[in-house]
Symmetry: C2
Amino acid sequence: MKNQLSYKNGALHFERANISQIAKKFPTPFFLYSETILKNNYSAFYEAAKKAKLHEPLICFALKSNSNKSLLKILAKLGSGADIVSVGEFKRAIEAGIPAEKIVFSGVGKTKEEIKYVLKASKHGPYSFNVESIEELELISEVAKKLDKKARICFRLNPVVQPITHKYISTGNKTHKFGMLLDDVFTAIENKKLWKHCTLVGLSIHIGSQLLDLKATEKAIGKLCEAALLMPNNLEFLDVGGGLGVDYHPDDSKKMPELKTYMELIHRSLEKHYYAYRSKPVRVVFEPGRKISAKAGILVMSVLRNKVSEDNNFLIVDGGMNDFMRPSLYGAYHELFPVKKAPAKKLYHVVGPICETSDCFGSGRKLPALKQDDLIILADTGAYGYSMGSSYNLRGRPAEVLFKDNGKTLIINKATSYEDLT
Amino acid sequence: MKNQLSYKNGALHFERANISQIAKKFPTPFFLYSETILKNNYSAFYEAAKKAKLHEPLICFALKSNSNKSLLKILAKLGSGADIVSVGEFKRAIEAGIPAEKIVFSGVGKTKEEIKYVLKASKHGPYSFNVESIEELELISEVAKKLDKKARICFRLNPVVQPITHKYISTGNKTHKFGMLLDDVFTAIENKKLWKHCTLVGLSIHIGSQLLDLKATEKAIGKLCEAALLMPNNLEFLDVGGGLGVDYHPDDSKKMPELKTYMELIHRSLEKHYYAYRSKPVRVVFEPGRKISAKAGILVMSVLRNKVSEDNNFLIVDGGMNDFMRPSLYGAYHELFPVKKAPAKKLYHVVGPICETSDCFGSGRKLPALKQDDLIILADTGAYGYSMGSSYNLRGRPAEVLFKDNGKTLIINKATSYEDLT
């Protein structure tokens, strides 16, 4: 059983939240988040970085994993920064109270309008543009010149490593669109006219998401440090990206690197590859998404009906792939738990109402006999859940509900209906 | 070159529409549809069915492939019915002028509220509920009883065949959630109390989408006819589903069965397996989606920039996987064409701005050298395009633009911005 999910008197609780009680107030499907877990995840991350004596760690929460404004406000109050990839995410972060000087702007496809907007939005623009190509730097330089601003630049280095993860969320190899080869970084640096309105402040890496093995991370951080020493000026920060995995599958927890291990590895790498040659402290920036948000959310669904096709048992639920894409998009595994405890009886395919075979949350899952209106939850859906969802099949979007520290529950994003779509 | 796309004086045209002219009026990315192609596709389908002497063919366009109201209105005027899978799609079809008596309600997850709504919305309810399980029939019967109505029932038969297509869009096997085994259909029929408020009017099959080989289809239609003969009453219709493929890849066109071949196969199967034993004509219902809409739409995008990583050339465009999911979700192939004709120079990865490696519209595509603001289109995006799209990365949704028969262009669905999302 996952530590944030437990049965009390046979009733599934998410942290202290009694799920069946909450489901009386909100129609399923809905996302349920825990303020306490979200805060704990952020604090654990930050504290681990501090304990490993990393210099002025800045945690830039990756909005693509979850951009709910109420959740971002909670993180903003704890001091979180933001990793954003669009002007929409920039605006959302600002609205949630995250200041521009804590925002890093990532992504290969920043448009001129986006660059202009974020540069104008505050005195110094975002904490950094994490630049992915020479052409992008040229554009930022051109826009900054027009606005008579200095843009803060960080190159995203392609460390040319191959982490162990799903091919779709692996991002640090040459055939991937992300990052720049070191030679190209030098080419960009040597072009003096690009730097009249740009300042090089950092270097970053991000080798993929849901990493369960730190070997590639260690190698990549070594390369990041080596590259940093070759830069024409001392850098303000090194951005080690995100991507630390979470244990979606029960078997993952054994392989999952601890935060402490991860931070100590960064500390060791910095000592060995950076501080051996430089004394001026360099800030460490992080871009975690799912590590903070995945386990802070669950998807609460109701059983619509059972269906038996010879030896195949289908449990049809009211949540669909449009609400939560990861199983269909990545073949991702997420645990399923009945809200009322009962002995598991048979193996089920748990499927949604969408007319796609991939609309399946789990196959061969041992579950108790459940009937119409019984509740079932999909675990660890706080990251890449609502943010990736759609209205496919003209379905309304589910509500997002927050269980607060004080035990109160409130809607932080209303469900939408067909009428809202039009 | 695809027949609906051609260069005239070096400028790419979509049917008669000059794409670069249209792109001056609407910011990219946007979906561009052709009224003429849409109408032609519908008419070709209907006429082929008529020519093959199928009885009173009813074409129920699958809204999940494209639910744009203006496009549905065009189809409605031609006499199209609708295949819907949610109350949202039902409402959309009705709003577009498709009457309930031409609507079939498919899907494994119909809710009580949905059943109630569609039964109440017209005198006799929808043309049929395509029932996927015994529990569903029980629910329909219960709701119909309460409303004192008779619900028109069609069982979706699982023909237990394995078509050649992508595993995600193959739907006619026992391990899939779709359809009922014949034994379960009999069990449902024998339960007399379920039939006081239900009438058995049809049987249906749907073995998957994007089928390129008709062997499985032939087998399935044979089984459909055999089952129909075993029903307790003469059926009004046989629903042969949808799923006929389109040639996304240039190599597909050779293998692609012609509409004529498909319709004649149905005719032959009916003669052999049905009319050999029954004289009363049985209507044929179809549920095509992509066959009607895929080639009626393209996605018009602009180049944001080029990026070179050693021998990898990336062309970064302003459309992303959130706008068009098929390549990332199914690994689907779609052709890419520059809007200005020029000799193809190098191989490119054509990628979007989304922070996912899967946000790639094509790898190793031979294209001319394109620069910032040059236009490029993704072909055959009229089906499972906008309808599957999302606002992932807090991106606004693209506009949908229609090139009308009369040569005029109009917005049939406005682009949305971040502000619209909130």
